[in-house]
């Protein structure tokens, strides 16, 4: 195995976002009094770090909880549990990371860690504080058609956000700022007065990105931003995203079901299955040294546009179980060709298989896979 340093130049960077044990459970109600009889565990305890100016890719199929996770991080839906430490000074981030990895924590360390986390944990912020933090974190949705108000033109659709956060801006200021944003995203003055239905899918997605940039954010959740677009338009949007990332030092959480897109754009990748991260690592680690059977199966299912590879796809057996009633143990065991007894009983932990490459599979837990 190659050491991480040899895989291209690692940017020296600090974390912008630490997500710890994030959970989102949706209650299932039944009976006369609508009592809660169970939960859909859409996101079931995920933890990861996102570094500044990097693109963190999240890939998974429907029901994996990737979109719920993205919305939970922004607290656009309220997470059930977990810590979301965002935008702390780099010394604080490093200290938190150091304390977390320490073998044995003294009481003082524990107290210090708690205190540090508390100060920057989004879960601890009230509505007013969240509103000002939201300027720094934005989201771009999959369907640009439904994410704009159809009765407002683009100037108003974007301007309303500026006006909300900066009520002192004059109409002319907003005109100028919106135009500047649109131009940055490859649109022109003529798009200002157009309504959403008068723009093509690609143009609208550019406008969505312009809107996300309106408040000068540091962090943008990209929720399948190109899934509704054609390949040729997708390429334009991906290019635009990368250009903006370089110019504005943006950090992306890129959510997608399309492995080729995630591979192309991400620095790090988390693979999700039924609310859990099953594999996490740098793009090289995940794509070239993939460890988890699900990641492998995903790769083997992708049809590559290369006629030399005709007939090489290997379908994975079965379907994704319902998140209402997930299988016990490792949630993937019902479809896994390597499943053994232990997989059916216990959920595997995320273990480091080298250089921060994390895998949740009993195969990689020493002595457990029997």
């Amino acid at each position: 195995m190659l050491p991480a340093g040899s895989m291209g130049v690692r940017k020296i960077s600090h974390p912008l976002l630490l997500v710890r044990n994030l959970k989102k459970y949706f209650p299932i109600k039944a009976g006369v009094m609508q009592k809660v009889v169970g939960y859909v565990k859409a996101v079931d305890g995920v933890s990861f770090d996102v570094y500044r100016s990097e693109t963190f890719g999240v890939v998974g199929e429907s029901g994996s909880g990737k979109t719920t996770m993205g919305l939970s991080i922004l607290r656009l839906i309220e997470p059930t549990e977990g810590e979301i430490i965002f935008d702390a000074p780099s010394e604080v981030m490093m200290e938190i990371k150091k304390l977390e990895t320490k073998e044995r924590l003294s009481d003082r360390d524990k107290k210090r860690l708690e205190e540090l986390k508390k100060r920057y944990d989004l879960m601890k912020k009230d509505k007013k504080e969240m509103r000002s933090i939201r300027r720094k974190m934005q989201i771009v949705f999959q369907d640009p058609y439904t994410s704009f108000n159809p009765r407002m033109n683009m100037r108003d659709n974007i301007g309303v956000i500026l006006k909300t956060h900066y009520p002192e801006l004059s109409g002319k200021d907003i005109d100028e700022r919106v135009l500047e944003l649109l131009e940055k995203c490859g649109l022109a003055k003529r798009h200002l007065r157009r309504f959403p239905h008068q723009l093509s899918g690609g143009e609208l997605q550019r406008a969505s990105i312009a809107r996300a940039l309106a408040l000068n954010p540091e962090f943008i959740v990209m929720d399948e931003p190109t899934s509704a677009l054609d390949v040729s338009v997708q390429a334009q949007i991906l290019d635009l995203m990368q250009e903006l990332q370089k110019d504005m030092k943006l950090t992306y959480l890129f959510i997608s079901h399309d492995l080729s897109v995630v591979h192309y754009i991400s620095d790090k990748i988390a693979v999700m299955y039924l609310g859990n991260i099953v594999e996490l690592g740098t793009t090289e680690q995940v794509f070239e040294e993939m460890k988890h059977p699900y990641t492998k199966a995903l790769m083997e299912s992708i049809p590559y546009p290369d006629p030399d590879k005709k007939g090489t796809i290997k379908p994975l057996y079965g379907t994704i179980p319902s998140p209402r009633n997930p299988p016990p143990g490792c949630k993937f065991h019902t479809r896994c060709p390597y499943a053994k007894d232990v997989c059916k009983k216990l959920a595997p932990p995320l273990v480091d298989v080298g250089d921060g490459h994390l895998v949740a599979c009993w195969k990689y837990v020493e002595g457990a896979y029997k």
Binding site: A30, V32, Q34
Partner: protein, 352 residues
Amino acid sequence: MSIRDYIIRRIILTVFIIIGITFITFILMHALPVDLAAMYAGNPRDNPATEINEAEMMLKAAREKFGLDKPLWVQYGYYLYNLFLKFDMGISMRTHKPVGEEIANRLPATLELIIVSIVIALVAGVAVGVISAKKQNKFTDHLMRIISISGVSLPAFWLAILLQFIFGSVLGWFPISGRYDPQLFHQHPFNTITGFYLIDTLIQGNFTMFGDVAWHLVLPAIAMASYPFGAIARMTRATLLEVMDEQYINAARAMGLPKKIITKYALKNALGPTLTITGLNFAYMLTGAFYVEWIFGWGGIGWFAGMALLNLDYTVIMGMVVVVSLFYVIVNLVVDIIQAYIDPRISLGEKA
């Protein structure tokens, strides 16, 4: 949610709905600047011949009898107590008879009328809606549109008078008032069992009277059916056209399925909104029957409620409010259950 759980839940909700509605009505009635007891005892100023004292005494007695001299919240508490635990809605100020009895005596006449009307409206409305949708934007569609829009826009009382005049008075095809012909009734008498005369005559094998009752129903039922017919026809056309654009209809056509099956496929999907609007109209007709019942001398509950309103017969108004809300709840419940039966995607109590 299971059907049993759902029904229990709805019944619990209904109790709260009735408390809320009676409360509002109660407050409104007492906010009126009139003496509610006057209807019962008669206003002493209306009757100068009587001794002033005697009239005042009667009025005072009436106030005491109905508890109108007590604080408002005590009055309301008594009302709820009597309603829920004794099923007693008090005595009518106007007729001096128990409200429950008065309503129960008149309810079947109205129910019979509106059930017949809604059946007419549903059958004709769905038929017209289907034909319109099939001939979209053709002459037939335009013609049907005129008919159904006339249905919703013509006032029921005007239509009632018109029908009565043309088919009753001028042409003499149908009787102009009443639920049956009294002369014929003397020759072929029948007992009132359910109060639904169509059923009563039928179970007693009295086909002569059955025909007579049905004949009497025609004009008022048509007058009552005109609005729901128009609404149902418009709704059926609109939803059917929407459904015909759905992927599964395309797929069914691509499989070469014949028109008959395609219509069946589409209609079952389009029925939901039609049922909802039918249910709404059905419940609305209970009170909306006032004019038609008046014009055709029907003696049903619509007419009775109208009289109560005009005379500020406060116990009857409260009673009517309870009965009408119950009726609304029941009709809605039935519509919901039918919907869930037709469309398996709708699970009761959850948003579809």
